[in-house]
Amino acid sequence: MTVVPIIKRDHICKLAEQGKRVDGRNFGEYRKIEIETGVVSKAEGSARVKIGNTQVMAGIKMDVGEPYSDSPDSGVMTTAAELIPLASPDFESGPPRANAIELARVVDRGVRESEVIELDKLCIEPGEKVWIVFIDLHILDYDGNLFDAASLAALAALSTAKVPAKRFELGDDYPLPLKEPPISCTSVKFNNVVAIDPSLDEEEIADARLTVATDTNGDIRAMQKGLNGSFTREEIQKVIKASIDNGREIRKQLYENIGK
């Protein structure tokens, strides 16, 4: 049961000592990203994102509902992630487990805390009726780095979303009001090297993982450390720098894809 991971770990670490990665990339090299939007006609907005072999689909649905009592004049957003059995032999159906919950909450924080969706513009009647934005993430193919793929898919789907006002007899449809999104970039550490955009093999043997979301100014908007290893102060600095640099490139690609 645990022999294969140990052999795999030895192999990946040995390659790392020679400065190589399993799939031939540099430690600072991100995999190829593909973004496709408008893939589901019933959804208010949708996107399919590929990072290497990893594939994530995001769909936005909207509804009219009641606001929270502590913010009566702003809209509501929720994020859910499903690690469906289709995507990996290790995923099981049923209620979301810790991994899916962490994924959904990290994507949610990236969108919510940086106020990407202008929730204050989604009020219909203060205290009574507001728009509710549902972000649903479906993992289709799991080859590592779900955090980046899922948040990029969520952002791409949001960028193309239309508020379905007509369906609720509230006037004409209009684009979902959005601000500049922060871009998430994940790195992992194994055998004391730090590698960006881990593949599944690397993720499985990694000691620690760090996701950093950065905005257009290169400011930090969200962070999440995971796995049972640790980072030093210097390693954190290195990860942040790589996240800012790669974030810039990914943002450029996102804007090209959504025609901005």
């Binding site: 810790a98 805390e113 400011d219 908007r221 969200a222 962070m223 450390k225 030093t232 954190i236 942040i240």
Partner: protein, 242 residues
């Protein structure tokens, strides 16, 4: 969310009178529960947290066992009455995420390879919540693990820093957490300064992040001394009683 409250005045005094680098008052007591293998009660500002450690014991269900090492199950749970609006009992998404990141942080310091197929259960009960419960919970868990005699490379400790009204400060209080600009909980292994937990939400420039990170690490070292004293005190009072 913005508020009209001034969180920090022109002299750098915060709402509760603290300076930017000051922590809220902390009180830690080790070995407070009878049945647990190790336990800790901690008060940190308005937070009251109780932690019980059970184990190492056989991990059940058996498929959860790891033949090479022990698994660490931290369970962060908030009492229904610990917050302003009653919290529905049982694990929600937030507490399950916190349980996960705390488990992973503790696994780094516990010598899990000494207990193959075992589980070490760390039950964190938040009785009264007032910003920074995950830091309080992890800090109390560190003391409870030491109290249980679980072999560790270090006693893990946690402290947060953040940004309020544009100022970087340590250990956010209630209003500061609600209306502040950023929150950065950090946990370290204090002997080596290795970072075992790191989360951030809000908005920090790179310089602000560095400043906040250093404040949080300094805070960890302050709390670490209180942790060690709490463990020593338990044996002090035990030997005095004899």
């Amino acid at each position: 969310m913005k508020s009209d409250i001034e969180l920090i005045d022109s002299n750098g005094k915060r709402l509760d009178g603290r300076g930017p680098e000051d922590l809220r008052p902390i009180k830690i007591e080790a070995g407070v529960l009878h049945r647990a293998d190790g336990s800790c009660y901690l008060e940190w500002g308005g937070n009251k947290v109780l932690v019980a450690v059970y184990g190492p014991r056989e991990a059940i269900p058996r498929h959860s066992q790891n033949p090479l090492r022990a698994i660490v199950n931290a369970k962060y749970n908030m009492a229904a009455f610990s917050v302003e609006d009653r919290k529905r009992p049982g694990p929600d998404r937030r507490s399950r995420e916190i349980s996960k990141v705390i488990s992973e942080a503790l696994e780094k310091v516990i010598l899990t390879e000494q207990f193959p197929r075992a589980a070490i259960d760390v039950n964190i009960e938040v009785l009264d919540a007032e910003a920074g419960t995950r830091c309080a919970g992890l800090t109390a868990a560190g003391v409870a693990l030491a109290d249980a005699g679980i072999p560790m490379t270090d006693i893990p400790v946690s402290c947060a820093a953040g940004k309020i009204d544009g100022h970087v400060v340590a250990d956010l209080g209630k209003e500061e957490d609600n209306f502040g600009d950023a929150d950065l909980p950090v946990a370290i292994s204090p002997r080596t300064d290795e970072v075992i937990l790191l989360q951030m939400d809000g908005h920090l420039t790179l310089d602000e992040f560095n400043k906040a990170f250093d404040l949080a690490v300094n805070g960890c070292h302050v709390v670490s001394e209180i942790q060690k004293k709490a463990i020593l005190d338990k044996y002090q009072s035990a030997s005095e009683a004899e």
